[in-house]
Symmetry: C2
Subunit: 560 residues, 2 copies
């Protein structure tokens, strides 16, 4: 034990800082004020925001762009229970966010007092978080608090999933006992040797007999830090690589092996055809979900797949147990696989030609929006994308740096884009942060731009205004898809920060983007008017698919 | 069975309408679109809002002002999990809100598909809601759906607590089987006869020997529809009545027996002294929480109390089991209790004198704010109050109609005030709706005024701008209590609706309120500048109390 005894709150943030955390997101409240004071004294910067749903999204995005832990600090119940959705998204998409909540005192618990913020029992919040985290602890005892913090943080890293740490308001100021010596040792997972050998042998044989092997590099590669390994594997044997909408920027678009982003119906046809006609899809770290792998029907024949994730390993319909993804890729690298001669795969990314003057006068629409953005954004731009056409239309958007396209592409919660931009701005990775968000999503969490104002961040906000819940119109329309039409650029007046402009034509968008990119001292807010009813080609395909699926299900279920 | 077969979605809203529901609050999403379509076709008006946390608050407030059910319609996980905090508040404060969520198809569940929005299992959302509701159902089978809907709605009414109904996106369109005959019969709870007799006999004796009996009429009287019965009891025996901050408007301030609102440290001294010096407090339907009955220490001696709630019955330290609150009050009415001769209790509510010209020129502060509001608001005003000084300072605010002061005074979640005003506006009870909200709370959910714009509501918004989280400054201060200072009145520009004004002096507030009250065609937004550091007398007492409590706990826990 060192000479200087730390308190529980002091140790907590000191330990997180040593784990690489430089920023924490949160909102104070009476049960967590003491812990906030320790955070303020720590080397971690406290980004205090306006509303808890945004706090969870920002911490999640921070984790995604930095590749490390995100930290979200909230008060008991009225704070924590207001962030369940964001943390559920982090759980679903494997983002290691450490939720730190204030809590009542152990003595309140012993007396079973009816204290404010309590719902049913003192454990209501923890029980709820147990559904959306992989480990949790309530630090009732400073004697064991250090070990508990280390255990739970290690679980977040090992599983790449959120965890929950509740710090009672009084315990945060108590002296902590030094961690026990074994506390920080977390054994790395190990494969079943024989099972791995059998899996690799069959995989190598399957690959060698295939005509057109394709690697699908999915999100777990990023979360588990295995992207370089997967790229090395692709390079050694000359296999083309696709990403998915969830892992979109895991591979640079400039990598000559990269063939584009695959997500079933959403994909550009050339990418879709190439992936779906492969007789050997090597799917690494994939989430096989409806949206990412085809909304309406299986587009991929299972017989043609080798799948390895943190949870599953299979070739066709044969499953293997006890396989660790990292060890599988390492073993493939050393396996007797015949390299392919050259690149016979398509390159879907011809650069867009510059706009003509006639085009500049045209009304911008969903598809031209993404083309103009791609042409105008600097290479190191970090994009956060909200659910809706801001995401689905972005499938063809080229990003040349890795980990620079951040979106909740599996969980698909609206309201992610703006708070995620705050998280990315805080991480301060050098590139400009650009948020793409629809009008419906903006009405949910858009005013979190207040936090950009407070901390002097300079994101570029691209609001796609298609006058309502456009994505839903293609499925079932009704008055419920209508929104109050805001004067969105007035947002900058309300928060007293940034410059706003509304654009109607392609030329106006091009100019506004150019001005925003040139002016790095300001938040720029560009409202892009999209004709009502218009949507991207990808969204059109999805809407048709979903409507079709619902009709098919109905026909199947409804007695005639 | 009637000739016309209804679908599940059709039956659901038809049944809720028959239970007195005229408005439902919600946000569409793909899993709930079909159900939204049935809602739109039903006689219930669909108030679609901007963000789910607000939906829960609005439905809760609707329930509180109407005395009936609130209904909140959301999509699966990304919607429902974004509303957990609001429903937790409804659970904690006993508001019967029916949560209707879309959900995946039974066939998705059978195949265990990885569909978008799913977190851990298909039941994640339901399991979470089981922590904050008193009954739940997933309508997987249209054969039993009608009985399930009736069972769960009956539970909401019987327990006055939220319930959860998940409607799979395809099941909503399937034909429903008529409910079975026993489905709607829910037996009213009945007391243990002997226990009740013993309780009433002892209570009557205890009351008769007391010098100063006082009734504390708390929130369950409102939730269980027992207010009239309690007032009858008070009137028959000439007992004075106090409310609490949570039940504030359960008794009209014009009732001659009413002595004011009691909430421990927060109370006006004259009310506090009278209640705490009572040797016989008859506490009906009370939540004995820290905030409502004294933040820092027990102000009430248990030996002096008769307590009866839906869960507990006691006199001093003696407990009785099997007591139903309604039957207890009925039995007290018939018990041999000696009526008191007259009113010897204080009347704390002398009307405030009109402002002098000199006063009109003074800077408005927290205390004068409430005085000016009380003088200027019409009798039938419905007030929604957010957490912070907008609530704590309001303890002395007189409301002359019943059920017209709505606040989350026990659960104390910030962000309640504006969405609650939307719920109250939708209920359309005749009186003008006035929301009182601090700047911190406004940054959370204030833009929900968009919904007022969309539906043409005319609330008066009173924003108390004290430049940050004022309530917390008195406990522990730090940079984390600072907010970006918005130009709040620009809200009306952003949403394109309403009139905004900022006031600094008492005279300006008086005039702005007068203009707002006179103009019933518009939303009026009045930003009231409160000097930073200033707060109401009640909040000062609370802040001091909390800081004291934390220090005391620390001294007790920290080894020297």
């Amino acid at each position: 034990m060192s000479n200087k005894t730390q308190t529980v709150g002091e140790f907590l943030f000191d330990y997180l800082h040593k784990q690489g955390v430089n920023h924490a997101f949160g909102i104070p409240g009476d049960f967590v004020l003491g812990t906030c004071r320790w955070l303020e004294k720590s080397p971690i910067e406290f980004i205090n925001m306006t509303h808890e749903p945004s706090v969870g999204f920002a911490a999640d995005a921070y984790s995604r762009v930095t590749g490390g832990l995100g930290v979200a600090v909230v008060t008991y119940c009225v704070g924590g229970l207001n962030m369940v959705n964001s943390i559920a998204g982090a759980y679903a998409e494997k983002s290691p966010v450490v939720v730190i909540s204030g809590g009542p005192s152990p003595s309140d618990r012993r007396n079973d007092s009816l204290i404010h913020h309590k719902v049913r029992t003192f454990d209501t919040q923890r029980r709820i978080y147990d559904e959306v985290t992989c480990a949790s602890t309530v630090l009732l005892d400073p004697e064991t608090a250090a070990d508990e913090i280390i255990r739970v943080v290690a679980a977040a890293k090992a599983n790449s999933r959120p965890v929950y740490i509740e710090v009672p308001f009084d315990v945060t100021d108590m002296p902590i006992k030094a961690p026990s010596l074994h506390a920080s040792k977390v054994a790395a997972p190990v494969s079943d040797k024989d099972s791995l050998a059998a899996f690799v042998a069959q995989a190598a044989a399957f690959i060698n007999q295939a005509k057109q092997p394709v690697i699908v590099a999915d999100v777990e590669l990023h979360r588990l830090g295995l992207t370089d390994l997967a790229v090395e594997f692709a390079k050694k044997f000359n296999f083309p690589i696709a990403s998915t909408l969830l892992s979109k920027s895991v591979i640079s678009d400039k990598n000559p092996l990269f063939i584009g982003t695959y997500s079933g119906t959403l994909s550009l046809p050339v990418v879709k055809d190439y992936v779906e006609s492969s007789d050997c899809l090597i799917m690494l770290g994939a989430f096989i979900s409806d949206v990412l792998y085809g909304f309406t029907k299986a587009n991929i024949q299972r017989n043609n797949t080798i799948l390895c994730t943190s949870e599953k390993a299979s070739i066709g319909h044969q499953h293997y147990e006890g396989i660790v993804l990292k060890e599988f890729i390492e073993a493939l690298l050393a396996a007797p696989i015949t390299p392919r001669a050259g690149f016979d795969h398509p390159n879907p990314y011809a650069p867009y030609p510059a706009l003509t003057d006639a085009q500049r006068a045209e009304q911008v629409d969903s598809d031209s929006f993404f083309e103009i953005i791609e042409q105008g954004m600097p290479d190191n731009t970090i994009i956060t994308s909200d659910t809706g056409d801001a995401l689905l239309g972005a499938i063809g958007l080229r990003t040349t740096k890795r980990n620079t396209f951040i979106a909740g592409a599996y969980y698909l919660s609206m309201g992610f884009g703006i708070p995620a931009a705050i998280g990315a701005c805080a991480a301060n990775l050098g590139g400009r942060v650009m948020a793409m968000v629809g009008d419906g999503a903006f009405q949910m969490t858009g005013l979190e731009l207040s936090t950009a104002a407070k901390f002097g961040y300079n994101p570029i906000i691209l609001l796609l205004n298609n006058d309502g819940y456009g994505t839903q119109r293609g499925i079932i329309d009704g008055d419920f898809n209508k929104l109050q039409q805001w004067k969105y650029t007035k947002t900058t007046d309300l928060i007293g920060y940034g410059k706003g402009v509304t654009v109607q034509t392609k030329g106006e968008l091009e100019s506004a983007l150019k001005a925003a990119v040139a002016d790095t001292d300001n938040l720029h807010f560009i409202e892009v008017m999209i004709p009502k009813g218009d949507c991207s080609r990808s969204l059109k395909r999805v809407g048709e698919g979903l409507a079709e699926q619902r009709d098919a299900t109905k026909r199947q279920k409804t007695p005639a």
